[in-house]
Structures are given as structure tokens and as C-alpha cells.
């Protein structure tokens, strides 16, 4: 049984630590190891958690998305070793709080590509806090929100309700596959944050999304089975060529088998595809959600279909 990891991210000042602090007060979060990443020589945020025990690690003086990626791997291995040796209380999950400027893709890549970690841990959910008063600011904030399974709109006690509604609409345009919850004083349903999004990609609207500033989501609905080999060729080539423009891809694909294949990637970091046993109902059309910059949905679909012909 793998130990689930929940990655908690969100831009500077968006309320990550407040949400984490509240979460850790919940009894259901009792058996949770926490890794807090802070920038700066003197780590401060973790003191706000009010729970500094042997299962709380602080990685300071660098960011786990760049110079401290090796430290994150080491810390996760160390947690396993110390748990197995009985040196620390047992834990059933790991919560990683990133810095406010962390880019999620390199962290996901570290967790997926490490030779040891994927055998012991599974990245179950990415949660991003979004400042309910100020919205998304800076490219990192967009990357964090695009990568998220759950978006937590913070400070809903302070923000204007109309502002919150507008932000929810903006977030639904950016990342329609994520669910959005509102948090007041950092309070949020723990269960929602600890599991991946339960949104069925087949429920997403496929009408073209009105262009706004920043990246947008494209939703493709595709009839007929997609050849898995040609999809792999197409996606690896697309991520290589257009990786800088793509923040996130999520797909539920009909590959001609009994059940669909779930595909997910955060920029270049591709999760192991999951082959499901069956479809939930009769609608077996493939869905592909892409969040990115300057990619036309018709061009994308035409290219994917052309690659399918190449394998026929």
C-alpha cells in the first residue's frame, strides 16, 4: 500500500499556511507527516502550524521546485526509513507545503521520476490556494492553479462576494477539471483536499471559452477509439515541442479497450496512465482538457487525428 502525498501550493500570501494549520488541527489529519518548504535562512511559517513534532520537516533556504529537489527526495526517503525503524510515530499520508513561488511541475517530476519514491508514495492530490481578495498574480500562481485538483478560494470572509463569484468563473475557465471550494479563516472540508478531483471530464462544457488574460482551457470531445500508441507518440512530441505553452493536460480516453485510460500531466511531468476496467455509463467519447497559452483547439484536434491515421 503506497502512502498518499498531498501537495499544497499557492502564491505568496494566498493563505496556504493558514489552511494547513487548520487542517492539522483535525483529528483525521493526525497521522500525517508534513514537509514545509520555506524561502529564507530563518524559517518562520512552520511555527504557525503549532505542531512541530518528529513528523514535521522544514526545508528552508531554497525552493523544492529548483535547488532543493534532491532534498525533497531525501526527506521523503528519510521519513520511510525512520517510520520503518520505529523512530517516528506512524503516518498514513504526507502533506507537502511548497513555497509561494514554487512551480509545481518540477516537484511533480521529482515525485514521479525518482527511482525509489513511486514504489512507496502516490501523488494523490494537488491543492492550490487562491487569494480570494487579489486573485491570481504572477505566472507561478497560474501554474499552481492549472496543476491543481482542488482550488481553495481563501479569505472568503474578507472578500467581496461579487469578487469571489468572478474569481470562481475565472478559475473555472482556467482549470475546469478542478473543483473549487471557498475557505473562511482557513476552514475547509479536509476530505475534499485529501482526494483528487472527482469531476467527471465528460461533464465539462466543450463550447469555446471566451478568451481572457493568461492561459485558458481547451476541452476536446472525440468520437471513436484513439490508438494508444499514436497518442503516446503525439503527446510526447507535443510536450517536447510545446511544453512551455502547456500547463496541464487531463484526459479520459477511449483506446478501444473495455475501459478508458486516464491521462494526466503537469507541464512535462506525466503521471503513469491509469487503465480503468470499465466506463461509468454508455457515453464513451474521449475527453481531453488542455490548459495552456496560444493553442487552438481545432489545430490540436486535427493534429491528434492525423497522428491516429499514421498508426492505422
Amino acid at each position: 500500500m503506497k502512502t498518499p502525498i498531498v501537495l499544497l501550493t499557492g502564491f505568496l500570501g494566498s493563505g496556504k499556511t493558514t489552511v494547513l494549520s487548520r487542517l492539522l488541527q483535525r483529528p483525521e489529519l493526525g497521522e500525517t507527516a508534513v514537509i514545509v518548504n520555506e524561502l529564507g535562512e530563518v524559517a518562520i511559517d512552520h511555527h504557525l502550524l503549532r505542531r512541530v513534532d518528529e513528523r514535521t520537516m522544514v526545508l528552508s533556504s531554497g525552493c523544492v521546485c529548483c535547488e532543493l529537489r534532491g532534498d525533497l527526495s531525501d526527506e521523503l526517503r528519510d521519513l520511510l526509513d525512520r517510520r520503518d525503524a520505529g523512530e517516528i510515530p506512524s503516518f498514513r499520508r504526507v502533506l507537502i507545503e511548497t513555497t509561494g513561488v514554487a512551480r509545481p511541475a518540477p516537484i511533480v517530476q521529482t515525485l514521479l521520476s525518482d527511482p525509489l519514491l513511486p514504489h512507496h508514495y502516490s501523488l494523490d492530490a494537488i491543492v492550490a490556494t487562491v487569494d480570494g481578495e487579489h486573485g491570481l498574480r504572477g505566472p507561478e500562481a497560474f501554474q499552481q492553479a492549472a496543476a491543481a485538483d482542488t482550488l481553495v478560494l481563501t479569505k472568503s470572509d474578507l472578500a467581496d462576494p461579487r469578487r469571489l463569484d468572478a474569481l470562481e468563473t475565472e478559475l473555472a475557465r482556467l482549470n475546469p477539471a478542478a473543483r473549487t471550494v471557498r475557505a473562511s479563516f482557513g476552514e475547509v472540508d479536509a476530505e475534499l483536499l485529501l482526494t483528487g478531483s472527482d469531476r467527471d471530464l465528460r461533464d465539462l462544457p466543450t463550447e469555446p471559452i471566451e478568451h481572457t488574460h493568461g492561459p485558458t482551457a481547451l476541452v476536446l470531445t472525440l468520437d471513436g477509439a484513439i490508438d494508444w500508441t499514436s497518442f503516446g507518440i503525439w503527446l510526447t512530441m507535443l510536450l517536447h515541442a510545446r511544453g512551455q505553452q502547456i500547463l496541464r493536460i487531463k484526459g479520459l480516453l477511449d483506446v478501444g479497450a473495455e475501459g478508458p485510460v486516464l491521462v494526466s500531466c503537469v507541464q512535462h511531468a506525466v503521471y503513469p496512465p491509469v487503465h480503468l476496467d470499465s466506463w461509468p455509463d454508455e457515453d464513451r467519447r474521449s475527453r481531453l482538457v488542455l490548459i495552456g497559452h496560444d493553442i487552438d483547439s481545432r489545430v490540436l484536434e486535427t493534429s491528434l487525428r492525423a497522428f491516429g491515421r499514421a498508426a492505422a
Binding site: 513511486p118 517536447h240 515541442a241 503521471y271 496512465p273 493553442i295 491515421r309
Partner: protein, 85 residues
């Protein structure tokens, strides 16, 4: 410990040969060819005798670009048109 590339997981020699055939339809547009080699690797060739051994699909595009000296793009209209023929 090497990890199998996500797009190649669970496939045997037959799947690799099928993948090489599909790849060749794409690479032919750029004057390249590929064949499945030992230990999951592929050998890329250009028409001038240049070769490169790549470990998986992820690495293949980097080497293919190096051989042709230009970027590859699956959304390139001329490639898409060639694949539709």
C-alpha cells in the same frame, strides 16, 4: 534502476515494432527513420548517414531535432497534411 517510459509501459517486442512503424510515418516527413533496438532503445537515422541511439520516446525528439537541426512540432501544418495523405 531505470524506469519504463509512460508511453511504452507494458508493451512487448511487437508493440515496440508497431510503435516504430507509426513513428516512421512521422519522422519520414523530416527525412529521418527509426528502428527498435535492444533493451528498449531506438536507433534514429538521417539520410546523410547520421545516427543516434535513444533510450525512450522522450529522448527521441531531442535527438531527432539535433539530427535535422530544426525544431519538430506535431501541430506543424505541413506534417499534419503529410500524415493525412
Amino acid at each position: 534502476m531505470s524506469k519504463e517510459h509512460w508511453a511504452e509501459a507494458g508493451g512487448g517486442a511487437r508493440a515496440r515494432a508497431f510503435r516504430a512503424t507509426a513513428l516512421n510515418r512521422v519522422l519520414d516527413h523530416y527525412g529521418l527513420s527509426v528502428h527498435a533496438w535492444a533493451a528498449g532503445a531506438y536507433v534514429l537515422r538521417d539520410r546523410k548517414g547520421g545516427t543516434a541511439v535513444v533510450s525512450d520516446l522522450g529522448a527521441l525528439w531531442v535527438e531527432a531535432e539535433r539530427l535535422i537541426g530544426a525544431p519538430l512540432d506535431p501541430l506543424d501544418p505541413s506534417l499534419v497534411e503529410a500524415l493525412q495523405r
